[in-house]
């Protein structure tokens, strides 16, 4: 085992504030939130009718994401309703992953029994953070399905007596797979970011000088892809949740694409 290669699976607690433990990932998350809020306030402060450069850049990005969501969800009204959630998830995860590579993340800290406890740790290396995001996504998906379809119709996707025993079994599997999304969302993000951090720690302990740089570039790309995947999957699952249950087979059909093609079974 390497002397001095200290990999902590859980986030280290720094101090306790009124009974709530404050970990180093929590402090990093606050930093990320502060940066995002400051950017939002500075950019959105005085929107002009004829936009300047920064405003038009953000407008282009917004329009691109809104168009994609409108294509997936169907109507512009639904796209506007879910845009804050999806965009915030993407921005928060992406910014947290970008902050992994700042010089003082993971290296500046205090010594506790001979081991360095860093003051700032990459946000998504804490399973609590990713699990919280996954729970938010899961609750939004389920509640959206119930609110838009109605409780009985949404429940009939899972508890399905019309098709006999096979339909009931499929409904049960659907229910469990909905629930398994919690685990899948949280572990996908956590695993990718944590494994990247461990990889860079191992490489730095062998060859600290030029070699980690292309790996850090790769990890930045992975961070971007994982943020996009999280937001995209939330969007796709919302779409699946608000789709009507199919009358003949009891399973849901997913329609995407701007051509408006709908698949029907008889």
């Amino acid at each position: 085992m390497h002397e001095g290669l200290h990999i902590a699976l859980g986030a280290e607690r720094l101090f306790t504030l009124w009974g709530i433990p404050i970990t180093n990932t929590l402090i990093s998350a606050w930093v990320v939130m502060a940066v995002l809020v400051i950017i939002a306030i500075v950019v959105g402060r005085n929107p002009k009718l004829i936009p300047g450069k920064i405003q038009s850049l953000f407008e282009m990005l917004f329009e691109f994401v809104l168009k994609y969501m409108e294509d997936t969800l169907g109507t512009r009204q639904l796209a506007v309703r879910f845009f804050p959630l999806v965009a915030t998830m993407f921005l928060f995860i992406f910014m947290s992953n970008l902050f992994n590579f700042l010089p003082f993340f993971g290296s500046v800290g205090i010594f506790e029994n001979g081991e360095l406890v860093p003051l700032l740790r990459p946000v998504n290396t804490d399973l609590n953070v990713t699990l919280a995001l996954a729970i938010i996504a899961y609750l939004v998906i389920e509640i959206t399905g119930i609110v838009i379809l109605g409780f009985l119709k949404y429940g009939s996707k899972f508890v399905n007596f019309k098709e006999g025993v096979l339909g009931f079994a499929i409904g049960l599997i659907e229910f469990v797979s909905n629930f398994a999304r919690l685990i899948s969302f949280s572990f996908r993000l956590f695993g990718n970011v944590f494994a990247g951090e461990v990889l860079i720690a191992v490489v730095v302990s062998f060859l600290p000088y030029v070699v980690p740089v292309p790996l850090m570039l790769f990890e930045t790309f992975v961070g971007l892809v994982q943020a996009a995947i999280f937001a995209l999957l939330t969007l796709v699952f919302i779409k699946i949740a608000i789709t009507e249950p199919h009358p003949s087979t009891g399973s849901t059909t997913l329609t995407t694409g701007s051509s408006g093609q709908v698949s029907t079974h008889h």
Binding site: F190, L232, L233
Partner: protein, 75 residues
């Protein structure tokens, strides 16, 4: 055999065997996506996006294996 060596072997087996399946799966996925793009270059955008979603699902299984490996080794 002491516990440390057992842990190391356990982690190696868990991760090594665990990524075989997703590796093959992602290979099949991307090859079919390339085939589809070759047949219908206009739909390349939709195909690419759906391919990425599929890759995210299969890669998640490999990540589960990796996390189990970490848990075995480091706790």
């Amino acid at each position: 055999m002491d516990i440390d060596s057992a842990k190391t072997i356990g982690m190696a087996l868990a991760v090594g065997l665990g990524v075989i399946g997703p590796g093959i799966g992602i290979g099949i996925l991307v090859s079919k996506a390339l085939e589809a793009i070759g047949r219908n270059p206009e739909a390349a955008g939709t195909i690419q996006t759906t391919m990425f979603i599929g890759i995210a699902f299969t890669e998640a299984l490999a990540i589960f294996a990796l996390v189990v490996g970490f848990i075995i080794k480091f706790t």
